[in-house]
């Protein structure tokens, strides 16, 4: 009984940590972008203020049940994937649900959020939302393939489909997979550029094209849920890559350093890039990232 309580407490702590870290990273991103643009920029806690304000706004307009469930789906997807990810190595404060095969489950559950959003956005009747969702799903086809290939390469190479298992191998051997199988790492990193949806892959909510796409009918609390689940999801993605390729983290400071460095890749790339068109974005992912993914699998099978 006590351990169940501890687990629940730990899950809540994990969520709060993910929320705080994701939000702060978002704020830091805004600050960094502002500095590149010769501006002073907002304070790093600006995202918290924005989130609280969005939460305090009234939400009087809705478009039916699915519209309510859309943001909820995204939140569920983020939180569930968070629960499967070992935040720190061997730490009882951040328990996670692990079983053999959770990596495959994770691949599915990470796609669940955007699909839920598609349902929600479809019901608003706003053509911008509908087009944005179509674009998002097509783009997902683009980046999911190299991403899955990178993960398959790892699974094949180390004969395990458990995240914890992969993490343990790295911790015990002391070799990070980003050096053991650099091709898989490259494919995963390039695919993660698309997952973050920053420029040049921000085609889903492209403001000058679709007026923020699927989000265009969501204000107030809807947007709050989307924003916070987005932050949690960013943390999930960063931590997952750290766990799979960079040997995990034994304490929070190392985790923050590693994830922040990883986070800087999409951020810096985004500052200086215009937006791709949908088909250009897919072509991009089916170019080098896919090639790296293939090489990674070949490497994993034969070496």
């Amino acid at each position: 009984m006590e351990s169940l309580l501890m687990n629940i407490l730990g899950a809540v702590t994990t969520f709060l940590l993910a929320f705080a870290v994701g939000m702060t990273y978002g704020g830091l991103r805004r600050k960094i972008v502002a500095r590149v643009q010769n501006r002073y920029g907002p304070p790093f806690y600006q995202n918290f203020i924005d989130a609280f304000k969005l939460y305090s706004k009234s939400t009087a307009i809705h478009h039916g049940a699915m519209h309510f469930l859309g943001p909820a789906f995204i939140m569920v997807s983020s939180v569930v994937s968070l629960m499967f990810i070992p935040v720190l190595t061997n730490n009882q404060w951040f328990p996670n649900l692990n079983f053999q095969g959770d990596l495959i489950f994770l691949i599915y559950i990470m796609v669940f959020g955007p699909l839920g959003m598609a349902l929600g956005a479809g019901q608003t009747g706003n053509p911008n939302s509908a087009i944005g969702v179509t674009r998002g799903l097509s783009q997902m086809v683009g980046f999911e393939i190299p991403w899955v290939m990178a993960l398959i390469a790892l699974m094949v190479q180390y004969k395990t489909t458990s995240i914890t298992g992969l993490l343990d191998i790295q911790v015990q051997s002391g070799h990070w997979f980003m050096f053991e199988n650099p091709f898989a790492f490259s494919a995963a990193i390039l695919a993660s550029l698309g997952m973050f949806r920053y420029s040049p892959f921000d085609i889903v909510g492209a403001p000058t094209e679709l007026a923020s796409g699927p989000m265009s009918e969501n204000g107030g609390k809807f947007l709050f849920v989307m924003m916070s689940s987005g932050s949690v999801f960013a943390f999930v993605k960063l931590t997952l890559i750290v766990d799979l390729f960079m040997g995990g983290a034994s304490n929070l400071i190392i985790l923050v350093i590693k994830t922040f460095l990883l986070y800087m890749i999409p951020v810096t790339y985004g500052i200086v890039s215009p937006r791709y068109r949908t088909e250009q974005s897919i072509t991009y992912f089916w170019g080098w990232p896919l090639f790296f993914g293939l090489i990674a699998i070949i490497y994993a099978v034969f070496f």
């Binding site: 972008v33 590149v36 643009q37 010769n38 501006r39 053509p127 911008n128 509908a130 087009i131 179509t134 674009r135 420029s199 040049p200 921000d202 085609i203 492209a206 403001p207 000058t208 094209e209 679709l210 007026a211 500052i271 200086v272 890039s273 215009p274 937006r275 791709y276 068109r277 949908t278 250009q280």
Partner: protein
């Protein structure tokens, strides 16, 4: 493919991607546009009606408000038209100052175009940089005319006042700074492979159509025809200045971008020449008392090269103290409705905003 039902998509009037306040109603199949209809009129202030109630000098305060991003060519057109009507000869120095003001306005408008083109394609850093740098040009305007946006500086009879102390040095310093920044812009925008991919071959306008529709300026030059009013029909002192008119043959967004890239450098070159060669003397001719100023019956049409093409002003007088008719020809007027509707068909919805920016659509001068 015909099975797909066309969706109606409204770009504007409230839309972050639209230039100003207008609307394009698109019929969309998938991501492709199959029909487009422009709707304007959201900014109609009836200037041309209002000048009927104002005298010749009062009307002049309205002129700069015709086109917000680049007000000076409009002032220049009006001033020149009134001078033609009343046979006013303006001092030599005033002409040079006018050229300086016009070229500064060109630079400021081109910087705004950089921002718009970058912003429309999702490159927000470009917008932040060039709008930030535009403040330095506006500072010069503030020094010279006292206002940032609406200068009301070029008026019938010359310009309102002479350079303030030390203005020439400030201009040269700003130009030096700007030239340094233009290298950064090259690195960020023109050498950006994604920008090239997004613009090459997009927004193609048949050169034949450009002429047919009477579209001029960078759009015409981007389709391979060398045309510039500053050279073809020189006004003020442009015939004494050396500058090049760039042309490109692509007739797409990329070609127009390259034309504008050279144009901003040529404007800097002209400004340097003006500072070097400007003669001494008066800056305005005395015009009659504005309350009693009557102009003999007649009409005049003056046109000026702006960043978006030629802007013209038709002024007709009936011999009274107020203009009979002032009719403004906006550069965007001829293409924003008819040509834009044709160009958009077959394009991707992602490019609507970029195409409008590239053509130089400016709603206030369409509706006036």
């Amino acid at each position: 493919m015909k099975r797909e039902k066309a969706t109606t998509l409204y770009i504007g009037p409230q839309h972050p991607g639209i230039t100003g306040n207008m609307m394009v109603r698109l019929k969309v199949e998938g991501d492709t546009i199959v029909g487009a209809r422009t709707e304007v009129g959201y900014l109609h202030r009836a200037f041309e009606k209002l000048v009927e109630r104002r005298n010749w000098v009062q009307s002049f305060t309205m002129m700069c408000r015709f086109c917000v991003p680049e007000p000076d060519p409009v002032e220049e057109s009006y001033a020149r038209a009134v001078e033609m009507l009343d046979n006013i000869e303006i001092p030599e120095r005033a002409k040079w100052i006018r050229v300086l003001v016009l070229e500064l306005a060109r630079i400021s408008s081109l910087l705004l175009w950089h921002a718009g083109q970058g912003h429309s394609l999702g490159l927000y850093t470009m917008g932040q940089w060039s709008v930030g740098d535009r403040n330095y040009i506006l500072d010069l305007f503030e020094d010279l005319t006292g206002a940032r946006i609406y200068h009301m500086f070029i008026w019938p009879g010359g310009v309102r006042r002479d350079f303030p102390k030390g203005f020439e040095d400030k201009v040269l310093k700003t130009m030096d700074y700007l030239e340094k920044r233009l290298e950064d812009y090259d690195n960020l925008l023109f050498e950006n492979s994604i920008f090239q991919k997004r613009t090459q071959g997009v927004g193609y306008v048949n050169p034949e159509k450009v002429i047919e529709h009477g579209v001029v300026g960078p759009v015409l030059r981007g389709s391979g025809i060398k045309s510039d009013i500053r050279i073809d029909d020189p006004y003020e002192v442009y015939d004494k200045l050396k500058f090049e008119v760039p042309t490109q043959t692509g007739s797409d967004i990329w070609a127009r971008a390259l034309v504008r890239r050279v144009e901003i450098r040529q404007s800097i070159r002209i400004i340097r020449q003006v500072i070097e060669k400007i003669p001494k003397g008066d800056v305005y001719t005395k015009v009659p008392n504005p309350q009693k100023w009557k102009i003999a019956r007649g009409d005049a049409f003056a046109r000026t090269e702006s960043v978006r093409g030629e802007v013209g002003m038709y002024v007709a007088s009936d011999g009274g103290a107020k203009p009979r008719r002032v009719h403004f020809r906006g550069a965007a007027y001829v293409h924003a409705v008819t040509l834009l509707e044709e160009v958009l068909i077959g394009q991707n919805i992602a490019d609507v905003s970029a195409i409008m920016n590239s053509l130089g659509t400016c709603p206030p001068e369409i509706e006036r």
